[in-house]
């Protein structure tokens, strides 16, 4: 076979250079919108977030020269846009107070599990990693948030008002079509928890398919598996140290159907709030917020936190 001549290499080089230059011209810019409501946290906490997270999750991104060179710039732009859409430290007030707290706990968990900052960012920015002692500072901080020691002191309400009940006889249906159903009351318990962030206690039920899968140590869980988590507030601790459930807060469903719910890792998510069982979320996008957190932190468990593991 004839070896390619010098002209071949030359023209190949020219084509490559043209592609490279073309990429630079179409290369996306990272634009920083104004800071409207920056997160208010103690200075030692802020310092960590600024150094390790602000380049993606804020409007104060400091883009290095090498981040601006295509094709890297495409990856960087994608990461920053995606990161800002999840939460933005410069527009922090867009999250309701409860969500702000939950996000802070999620951040601690994302760092603890080595998921954040993103690996590819850590490779390019050696100073980006969050150290053990910095993680300890963040943990200490989230434990001072108001939800951490929340006690349910209000009178326990056992039923919705009679009028209301009559008008809400219809089965509540989540925006993604999942109806509320009380079948779970006949299922087995797969987990019992004390959630410190937000102050609640939970019982998690699994249907037969789910429980059998756990017994057979089958992961990922098969289609037809169903999980229901029932959430209550916590009453004040008594003298013997017992903490009992207060008011009912919500019930959360996860239904496995790998085809139907392929956009949310094979699980259909639904949440019903209060004794009226009002379906949570304003638009169907709500299910993405559920899946985002489960996807980030529990991929090893088929996206389920509450399973008995060694």
């Amino acid at each position: 076979m004839k070896k390619p001549g010098l002209t071949f290499y030359k023209s190949a080089a020219v084509v490559l250079i043209l592609i490279f230059v073309g990429l630079q011209i179409s290369s996306p810019d990272i634009e920083n919108q104004p800071v409207t409501s920056e997160i208010a946290v103690p200075a030692n906490v802020k310092k960590i977030l600024e150094r390790a997270c602000y380049d993606c999750h804020s409007n104060e991104a400091k883009v290095e020269w090498f981040d601006k060179i295509a094709p890297a710039s495409f990856v960087v732009a994608h990461d920053v846009n995606e990161a800002r859409s999840r939460f933005n430290f410069s527009e922090w007030d867009r999250n309701p107070a409860g969500v702000q707290e939950l996000l802070l706990w999620e951040m601690v968990n994302a760092i603890e599990q080595g998921k954040m900052p993103l690996k590819r960012y850590q490779l390019a920015h050696p100073g980006g990693k969050v150290s053990e002692s910095e993680l300890a500072v963040l943990k200490k901080y989230v434990n001072t948030l108001p939800g951490r020691h929340k006690v349910d002191t209000s009178r326990i309400v056992a039923q919705t008002s009679v009028n209301h009940k009559a008008s809400s006889q219809k089965t509540p249906v989540s925006l993604n079509g999942i109806p509320y159903s009380s079948d779970y009351k006949n299922w087995k318990i797969i987990s019992v928890t004390d959630k410190l962030d937000g102050g609640s206690m939970r019982i998690v039920y699994g249907n037969d398919i789910m429980v059998k899968a756990i017994e057979k140590r089958e992961l990922p869980f098969p289609d037809g598996a169903r999980i229901v988590k029932v959430v209550w507030g916590k009453q004040a601790e008594d003298n013997d140290g017992n903490v009992l459930p207060g008011n009912f807060q919500n019930a959360q469903f996860m239904i496995k159907d790998s085809k139907k719910y392929s956009a949310t890792e094979g699980w259909g998510f639904a949440k019903f709030d209060g004794l009226d069982l009002k379906p949570a979320g304003k638009t169907i996008l709500f299910e993405q917020t559920c899946a985002n957190c489960h996807r980030l932190l529990a991929p090893e468990n088929d996206f389920v936190f509450n399973i008995p593991t060694k």
């Binding site: 968990n109 903490v243 459930p245 009912f248 529990a298 991929p299």
Partner: protein, 153 residues
């Protein structure tokens, strides 16, 4: 040149492999408890003891727990399963049930025409240490029968 390219490819491949750290969890079905036909009355946390528990009951027990009848229902059966708490592996901020610590059964039985009796039984689980105190029977009976059921929708 060629060898640098292949080296580059190998490094890239290794990088991609190392990014996919998706090891699967080891399930521990031995932490589950099968309460048979009994239904949930409520869960109980005890941070002084580092335990978390589930109180189950049959229909008669559930009835008492809902109405807080002063007189126990003869025929009521309760099961109180207590686990040691452990931190949830994937979420710093939640404690969950780990290994089973104890299983308590309580039956309210008819002794004669007018009187009833309590049939109480304490079983230890794997997490129970021989040096741990056994609970005081009368106290436990009072504790179990005085529990109000959690509110469900």
């Amino acid at each position: 040149m060629k060898s640098t390219i292949s080296l580059y490819i190998i490094v890239l491949a290794l990088l991609m492999l190392s990014c996919d750290e998706r090891n699967t969890a080891t399930l521990a079905p031995e932490y589950l408890y099968n309460a048979g036909d009994q239904k949930v009355i409520k869960s109980i946390i005890n941070n002084k003891k580092g335990t978390i528990a589930m109180l189950y009951g049959n229909d008669l027990a559930l009835e008492t727990a809902h109405d807080s009848l002063s007189k126990p229902n003869i025929g009521a059966h309760y099961t109180l399963v207590t686990w040691k708490q452990k931190p949830m592996p994937q979420w710093y901020g939640t404690n969950m049930n780990g290994e089973i610590y104890s299983i308590e059964h309580l039956k309210i039985v008819q002794r004669n025409e007018t009187r009833f009796a309590f049939d109480y039984d304490f079983q230890t689980g794997k997490a129970y240490q021989p040096s741990d105190d056994r609970p005081e029977k009368q106290q436990r009976i009072e504790f179990i029968t005085s529990q109000q059921a959690a509110v469900f929708p």
